[in-house]
């Protein structure tokens, strides 16, 4: 009893459906590439293993920078259960608002992966939190290392680490990834590739909840990390700390060099900061405070602040004069208490009688050095003053002025040693002579030098005719293997007889000259004070010197901004540091001097500082403003008006500042 449609549609439907499914499967499984890779990407996770970064060690074997464990607290949003938020906040020292905002952010971005919730938590807080970690199931932690600085100083030279930027990643040739840290300034940056070592990684198999399920291919493609090289520096950690203590409350820089090797012994930038504050959890907060600080502690003053070298410049001037035989060493010049240039007079600090070159150095006689500078440039062997100036420029630049010395820190400034071309442009070709630019002779005017350059010039005199490129780093060491950075010996073609002669003069400066305060018992200290004129505020105090006289061990330059005479601050600080380095202790009778230096505060409150800064800016900008006929001394008049305005503004600001001061202080004291 068959009936109905015997050849039902169902049979056809089965074949058609099976055919369609097979075609689709064929496309999916055979023709479409990429699914295999996608499935591997799902399951295999690359995890970086960070090597320990190289230590930084001082010349006596003391560790200046080491690594310390800190902890990133991670959270996997999709596993969060209700937890005691208040307790959580209390343990981690944060606010519920922060927790809520952060969790919302993580929910939006990476809810399925452990994501950094709090970065770089210090070990103390972490230990507290770890005891309660089981109460917060979705939270985990990851160990990281940060740099620690047991001497709490040397920030400017050591530099800091920070998270890599997009640009760093692009330029690193695939080494850096988002979230890595790298050296951003100082030697940490310069030697980053050696210090950092090499990252390792392993491949893990994880499930959809990101739980570890085993190694990928039994760890065949994994790589163990390679530790970084340890760096031994020429820095003397004790001297460095001592220098920083002496420079407290003062603005400026100190550079001390071992002349024989070019190793830098101390490198102080003041005001400095404790490099420890730029590691860890509050890094960004602290960085902002530093960034906004009107004294610019982030400025690397020893190599980036170009100051007029002042009278310290005279030592090289004397050497050049002698070498070129403009005058012989016994030649004398009558100092009436100044040097007349047209209607202007370059004043001396007194009437120096009839000094020869040593006496001129001893009393820092301006008129003597103006005269020899004038005689050098206007010498009859040169056809024009320009040719004479060019000769003077060549000789002076051999001392390292006006060029980068090649220290192993990025951002070094050239200073300024104005060229012939520059003066031709300003005054017109053939329209200037020595008298026009006379202030160069005493390290004023357009001449600018960094403390490093001043110290290096002293090292040349100490070495009697050569210098070795100053470097922080001595060598790298790892597993008894060594690597030494290249050091160049630069020879200055000046007769050593003249060096001896000038050295005697410099010794007299300390023994019986302008820097008697810098006498160190039992050590023959040679040096030169400098007072960089700053016609509208206190002069900059400068001192450069070396010791001992025979077989020098240390050359030093100290620059203290707006501090007065060279002998008032810079010379005592330099002598104390030299004494500390050579004798290891300070003689009893010099202790009061040391304490006075420790206590002295020259830094001003914020508004006053703005005023001072404005003045400095005017001095520095001055060259650009003066078109003709003038050098820095004449320029003073030009600046008078603008300064008057600044003064008025200063008084107003000061009133306002006093009102806000309490509030301001509060906001800057949040530094944890």
């Amino acid at each position: 009893m068959q009936r109905g449609n015997e050849s039902g549609i169902l049979e056809k439907a089965i074949y058609i459906a099976a055919f369609i499914l097979i075609v689709k499967l064929f496309f999916l499984q055979v023709l479409t590439p990429g699914y295999k890779q996608q499935s591997k990407n799902n399951v295999v996770k690359k995890q970086n293993i960070y090597p320990s970064r190289g230590l930084i060690i001082d010349r006596k074997g003391k560790v200046i920078v080491y690594n310390d464990a800190v902890y990133d607290i991670l959270v996997q949003w999709n596993q969060i259960k209700d937890f005691d938020t208040l307790k959580f906040c209390e343990l981690l020292n944060t606010t519920p608002d922060f927790v809520r905002a952060k969790l919302d952010e993580i929910k939006r971005t990476t809810p399925n992966k452990p994501t950094a919730f709090i970065k770089l938590l210090d070990p103390q807080s972490f230990t507290r939190f770890q005891e309660h970690l089981f109460e917060f199931p979705a939270f985990s932690f990851e160990t990281r290392t940060v740099r620690r600085y047991p001497y709490h100083g040397g920030a400017a030279m050591l530099g800091y680490l920070s998270e890599v930027t997009e640009n760093n990643i692009k330029n690193s040739g695939g080494y850096y990834e988002l979230g890595d840290y790298m050296g951003t300034t100082g030697i940490e940056k310069y030697y980053d590739s050696l210090l950092r070592g090499e990252k390792g990684y392993n491949f893990q198999v994880v499930d959809v909840k990101n739980t570890y399920k085993g190694k990928y291919k039994n760890g065949e493609e994994d790589k163990t990390p390679i530790a970084g090289w340890d760096m031994v520096t020429g820095i003397d950690a004790e001297l460095q700390a001592y220098g920083e203590k002496l420079m407290q409350g003062k603005v400026g820089g100190v550079v001390a060099i071992d002349p024989a090797t070019g190793e830098i012994l101390a490198y102080v930038s003041s005001p400095g900061y404790d490099p420890n504050i730029l590691t860890g959890r509050y890094r960004r907060h602290n960085f902002n405070i530093l960034f906004k600080d009107p004294y610019i502690p982030l400025l690397n003053r020893p190599i980036q602040a170009a100051y007029p070298p002042g009278s310290t410049f005279k030592a090289s001037a004397a050497l050049i004069m002698l070498q070129e035989k403009i005058h012989e060493e016994k030649w004398q010049w009558f100092c009436p208490g100044g040097y007349r240039v047209g209607s202007h007079v370059v004043k001396c600090h007194g009437v120096h009688g009839i000094p020869d070159v040593q006496t001129a150095l001893q009393y820092s006689c301006n008129s003597y050095f103006c005269k020899i500078y004038n005689d050098f440039i206007m010498d009859s062997t040169f056809a024009t003053p320009a040719i004479g100036y060019q000769k003077w420029w060549d000789m002076t630049s051999m001392f390292g002025y006006g060029k980068k010395l090649g220290i192993d820190i990025y951002g070094e400034k050239r200073g300024n040693l104005p060229t012939v071309k520059y003066y031709n442009k300003i005054f017109g070709e053939g329209k200037w002579r020595a008298a026009t630019i006379i202030s160069n002779s005493i390290g004023q005017g357009e001449v600018l030098a960094t403390p490093l350059q001043i110290a290096n010039a002293m090292a040349i005199i100490a070495n009697k005719g050569f210098y070795i490129t100053p470097k922080i780093c001595r060598y790298f060491v790892k597993d008894k293997k060594y690597r030494t950075p290249k050091r160049e010996k630069n020879i200055i073609p000046i007769d050593s007889v003249y060096f001896r002669y000038v050295t005697d003069g410099l010794e007299k400066v300390v023994l019986a000259g302008t820097a008697r305060v810098a006498q160190i018992p039992g050590i023959s200290f040679c040096g030169k004070t400098g007072t960089a004129q700053n016609p509208h505020g206190k002069d900059h105090s400068i001192f450069a010197g070396f010791a001992p006289k025979e077989n020098p061990k240390i050359a030093i330059a100290v620059f203290v901004e707006n501090a007065g005479f060279g002998a008032t601050y810079a010379a005592p600080i330099a002598s104390l540091m030299v004494e500390k380095y050579l004798n290891d202790t300070i003689a009893k009778k010099r202790i009061p001097l040391q304490d006075r230096m420790f206590k002295m505060r020259l830094m001003k409150d914020e508004v006053e500082l703005n005023y001072v800064k404005q003045k400095e800016k005017l001095v520095l900008d001055s060259i650009a403003r003066v078109k003709a006929k003038a050098d820095s001394i004449v320029r003073a008049k030009y600046l008078q008006d603008s300064l008057q305005k600044a003064k008025v503004k200063y008084t107003e600001d000061r009133k306002k500042f006093k009102q806000d001061s309490i509030q301001n202080l509060k906001s800057t004291q949040q530094n944890p």
Binding site: G8, L10, E11, L21, L25, L28, Q29, Q38, S39, V43
Partner: protein
């Protein structure tokens, strides 16, 4: 039955039995693969593992299989309506006291066992429909007969629709194949296809464009066939129906369907998705495709499927078990699996046609329709051809209700086939 006559019992069909055992065994293997943790531990035989539970269900199924083979076909015919009544009762019960998972209120918690009445309803409905067609004087051409036949289907369909179980709804709708076999005009099947086509089009294209096109098209057709009054009448009805239907589709889509259902349809149609859908269902479907696609031609090997073992694909042991098979056994394995299903269905169809009574034919045909619907929708959804509808792969997917229900269906079909000559009265 006369003594000494040729043996009335034929042996049960070996091919179908083989396919049945093959699928059940592959199911347990695949469920094991999705849960295998990488090493054999002491808790290997623990009852918390799905593969152990499924093995127990399989053993229970074999027992039931042989029990059913022991029944007389007359008893089966006799209990058809009572079974139908019981499953309808259970469907009503589940609506009242059932538990809800993922928007579907389709199971009753019996402590150790979660009973899914909708699975058994398919079996019961197949029996009831067969019984109805077996009734004397049944010619299936009066309005009354149509009404009753459709009623038998509509009742469980409405109840599973009430549970929000779209998959089972489609299974009951697939009984149209059975009615078609029994004399329902092909037109109904084509009409169904036409409705599906219009629905899909109206969700992709602007509804006014569809209405415009159909009005122009049908106007031409009516103009050409002006003399054939009958055809004009039908065409006019279709034209008006299309217009109304097009409007109602977007209304139903936006107002009747739940949000997750809209998302699932949108994925297949390639429409823009909500953010939530991209994270959820689209992500799951994509993982399923990655899983199957990464299997390549020969697959990653048994127990080597990372996608399924590490839970990147959701519900790999139940609805998405085909992903696990596609990943571990590759295109070749998928081909074999499809071949086995097609072989089984083809064989069952053959058995349906050689039945001497309408009962056996309608019943077996219904079983094929049920298996077919499950097979197409399940595999289609894992490879992104069809919307994700929660429906198990017959005999493979983890789940006691489903396994036992399909065992009933196939065992009964085999029993009816082996006794097919007995009804030659």
């Amino acid at each position: 039955m006369q003594p000494g006559a040729k043996r009335a019992y034929d042996p049960i069909d070996g091919t179908v039995l083989f396919c049945y055992l093959f699928l059940v065994a592959l199911g347990i293997m695949s469920i094991f693969a999705t849960e295998y943790s990488g090493n054999f531990t002491a808790s290997f035989f623990s009852f918390k593992h799905s593969y152990i539970k499924q093995s127990v269900w399989a053993i229970a199924s074999f027992l039931m299989f042989f029990t059913i083979l022991g029944f007389d076909r007359r008893i089966l015919q006799l209990i058809s309506y009572p079974i139908y009544a019981i499953v309808i009762f259970m469907l009503v019960l589940v609506l009242l006291i059932g538990n809800t998972t993922k928007g579907q209120q389709n199971w009753i918690d019996l402590g150790a066992f979660k009973l899914q009445p909708s699975e058994f309803a398919k079996f019961g409905t197949a029996m009831a429909l067969a019984k109805y067609f077996d009734s004397p004087n049944m010619r299936f051409h009066t309005q009354r007969e149509y009404m009753i036949a459709f009623g038998i289907l509509a009742l469980p369909l409405a109840l599973v629709a009430g549970q929000g179980d779209a998959g089972s709804c489609l299974v009951f709708a697939a009984f149209i194949f059975v009615l078609n076999r029994e004399g329902l005009s092909d037109l109904f099947v084509y009409l169904g296809l036409y409705i599906v086509a219009i629905s899909v089009l109206s969700l992709i294209i602007n509804q006014y464009i569809i209405i415009g096109i159909s009005v122009v098209l049908f106007s031409f057709l009516i103009y050409w066939n002006w003399m054939n009054k009958q055809l004009v009448k039908i065409l006019s009805v279709i034209m008006i129906g299309t217009c109304l239907f097009t409007f109602s589709v977007s209304f139903i889509f936006n107002n009747v369907l739940a949000k997750h259902q809209r998302d699932r349809i949108n994925i297949v149609l390639g429409q823009e998705l909500t953010k939530e859908a991209r994270r959820g269902i689209a992500y799951n479907l994509n993982q399923s495709k990655i899983s199957i696609g990464s299997g390549g031609i020969i697959g990653k090997g048994y127990l080597q499927g990372t996608q399924t073992r590490y839970n990147y694909v959701p519900e790999t042991s139940t609805d998405f078990i085909f992903s696990a098979i596609g990943e571990e056994w590759g295109f070749v394995g998928a081909l074999v699996l499809i071949f086995i299903y097609v072989l089984m269905m083809q064989r069952l169809l053959l058995m349906a046609e050689r039945q001497s009574s309408p009962y056996g034919r309608v019943y077996t045909y219904a079983v094929v329709a049920i298996i077919f619907t499950h097979f197409v929708i399940n595999i289609g959804m894992t490879i992104g051809l069809l919307p994700v509808i929660g429906i198990p792969l017959p005999l493979l997917s983890y789940g006691g209700s489903s396994l036992i229900s399909f065992t009933f269906m196939i065992a009964t079909a085999l029993k009816l086939d082996s006794e097919r000559r007995m009804s030659m009265r």
